[in-house]
Symmetry: D2
Subunit: 293 residues, 4 copies
């Protein structure tokens, strides 16, 4: 047989650093966010608005995504925006609203941190901190995340190779924190019809090379609300341990990324469809329940 | 709401030429290859070796993929190879073997054509002709394919945008042949760990913009045998109308692309898994049957 | 010292096929198009319209680019166009006009061939045949070009690696024709502000790996008329053996690519600037002379 | 004439934010680093080692690059490295060495800052602070750089479009600091033979859209020592206001990026060649002088 030219040092595993490598730790790592476990047989859905805008917006969205089956609430307080003139988030006020909604709904919260000076503050409110794509190689931030005692959701850089991504995660583990969730969220390619190109092959590749759980973000991966459900289903079929999706109770009024946010109804319908795929691949997803708030 | 910057002239549909456009023809086009219909509720699997190598290899592989549920046999007689020193295919001898195996198995055959001078020859043997990625913008070849009376499997160029891809299909339809199947087979990106990056978002995008059926090639899309099943499942979940996969009865002895070819056993297991996903998305796939040859 | 991770099998040369390799033939190959030699110390400029439109357009443009210092005339008779509804070229009528203008101006002509069935025809009129980007991996066409007795201008595919490009050239040399000129014309990247990204590092890389001459096409490389002069100067500075540029006597009336075509005045000014750069790198370029037609 | 499809909202200028835009300020901005002015007719060369390693290494390299014509000394004290196990820089000790060498040579120094908590420290030693590619969208860092009273060298992200790059610069100007130098340093593409693809078209594009000076980094842009001179010459020809290059007095012993660092002799020869190109485009470059230390 021909030698496989694509079986290179990356997917052959020799370039993968030790702490994240499955060679070092063959068993899956389970990341616990309060009572929610990511990396086991249950597929975990994280949902919520792009940005925290108001108590009403956050509460209404949280209540409804919980009813739809979401297990963790997402929402940005500090927002990385390409332009300095776009809405930059509510800051600590947003963190306080997230904490308040956690008390009301019981959903753990995940929110982004962008600055080493804010980690202590963000970690004091959040149940899991997120390091976004633009900061995937912000090494001081990765080191601080490694020293904080909270789980970390580390999103793949939009132009990061699998090797660079795992090296970035290694920075966190190297500080003693192995509670890291990886997240494929679309890479930058030449194709202009979608916001990014969702690289679903990254899911089996990351899971083969590393013991860390891997989730998928079809909202940023496509940038198109109508396309989110199809890619969410594909993500479950390809083997993802979870999904993170933007949902807004009134997408047309969102201050940020409304065009890629699902409405609450769309989310509920999607969860029902995802459940069928999950079962087809031998996993489960939380069944939508009547609102319990 | 912010305007969606990704809702551009491509996915908004205004750049899409008329004959391929769903605006012109809202209903799905069904492509018929003998008695096999692509584009309806059944998900069609095309399988077979990269290249036709010998009667034994082709017959053994064909018999077994048919038993596994494949509905169409693939196999290359004229092979586009990056190097002039690689195996270039058996030529007409390969076409004759394909026709012979069709008689024995009843499976329709699809094979690639690379040269306008060969179209008549290839179309006289094949039930569907394939235009490969490297020839997606070979306009004389597209025009000839449009004039031939056989269905055409047009693979996406590895660096073609959705808009360019649909324009290439338009060349075929513009000659009066609407029996065209589109095929996402991976695009070229910066990521080196896979052969290409399979762009599964292309499936819902193409189906929204066009009435033509869309299938997926996870073999070339990943270039890694172990990864083919995961991406095949994702392709079914995302809404593909079919799959085309490389299967070889002895992958380790294949003259071409053995590293991305499934063994017959792997293929049979995969078909069973795909069937579950197909049902989860409200479609069906042919159930593996005992060998009938 | 760290091992250079970028000193891989491509630029280390081990992946380069034998006939194009500088290891096999250390001296530069000189390609002769009638009395014009490409690959020596003179930098050769090829200029003319994107497409042959009429005798008047071609003659006026040819006369003026010759006066500006162009040594070879370009012009398309068979045009590869993304859409079937765009102007497809004048066909053989265009070839006849090119031959007529050669008689009048003495400039050798280069024109594109897209179809194996046309090679004999095109080669009977042209002094050099061009294989365009979209056909860089059209292997039957490469083989025919290798068998024809005319020099070949082989443009890099917009998606082709250096390795694939040299393998494509090898197809031509392997048929006994070593009169091949390579041409960097921009690759496809994520950047939308230019038509392509002109990869000027390809020039020193190709010249290090191969003995074939290398020219640059800043018209397609940028897609922006105002940017062509800056990149043309850079191409001379980086070590190109020549340039191919689109020039039109009335760009605003061009049927094809007018937005990237220089006017005749812009071309004349540019040639004067290029001459200074050529001398700064120890080469020469033909000095603009008064019109001699 | 056809509408130019590449004359989009970016290069048409409508997407460019106000403070960086040439529409707002038609004249070139001159950035002053002590007595060195970037953006005028003189082309400024910044040279030095990737990382500060020792007093001897830094002093020897600085003395020799000054003799070769460099006007500013570069050297990293805090190094962003893909792997946590690579040399991370000397930290403040490196800053102290840089300041000491400035006293001895008179060369202003530029060095990278990666962390908002370090900006005050770095700015207290450096004459210009650098924000590296990986931090181009680190918005808190950009804001701090905007508030500091030192010139800023902002490198283009390897994945950043021209539009995103100018938006990142706008974050700095929006805080009241207009002393910003832009730097093209290679973008990530599919081509594996070079470390990045140096996008020289970015130079005329940035200079057309913005009043800020633009320099080029051929060391990171190519990752290959032997290729640096060719691309440096092209950068001067294309219109860059300066260059930043890695030079090491003993490249084979460098702790970081030795494979892309010029030796001092190579640097001196290159400066002489660059001088000729600079004059050919109507600019000047500091003439190498005998060592004055």
């Amino acid at each position: 047989m021909e030698t496989n030219p694509y079986n290179n040092r990356v997917n052959g595993g020799s370039a993968i650093p030790s702490r994240v490598s499955r060679k070092t730790k063959p068993d899956n790592t389970i990341v616990s966010i309060n009572d929610v476990q990511v990396g086991g047989s249950e597929i975990i859905v994280i949902a919520g608005p792009c940005a925290v805008e108001s108590r009403l917006q956050l509460f209404e969205t949280a209540r409804l995504v919980k009813a739809g089956g979401a297990r963790i609430l997402r929402g940005g307080a500090f927002k990385p925006r390409s332009s300095p003139y776009n809405f930059q988030g509510l800051g600590e006020e947003g963190l306080k609203l997230l904490a308040m909604i956690r008390e009301e709904t019981g959903l753990p919260i995940v929110t982004e941190v962008m600055d080493t000076r804010q980690i202590e503050l963000v970690a004091s409110y959040a149940d899991m901190i997120q390091i976004g794509s633009r900061n995937m190689q912000n090494y001081p931030l990765l080191k601080e995340a490694g020293m904080c005692r909270k789980p970390v959701l580390l999103k793949r850089g939009m132009m990061a190779t699998i090797e660079e991504y795992l090296l970035a995660a290694e920075y966190i583990l190297n500080q003693g924190n192995d509670q890291v969730i990886l997240c494929e969220r679309g890479i930058r390619t030449f194709e202009p019809s979608t916001r990014n190109t969702l690289d679903l092959s990254a899911v089996p590749m990351l899971k083969r090379l590393s013991h860390l759980p891997v989730i998928v973000d079809p909202s940023h991966g496509t940038g198109l609300r109508w396309m989110v459900p199809a890619l969410a289903k594909a993500a479950v079929a390809v083997g993802a341990d979870g999904l993170i999706m933007e949902v807004h109770y009134k997408p047309e009024e969102a201050l940020c990324d409304g065009y890629q946010s699902l409405s609450v109804d769309e989310f509920a319908r999607l969860m029902s469809d995802l459940n069928k795929i999950a079962r087809a691949v031998g996993r489960e997803i939380s069944v939508p329940k009547p609102s319990t708030v």
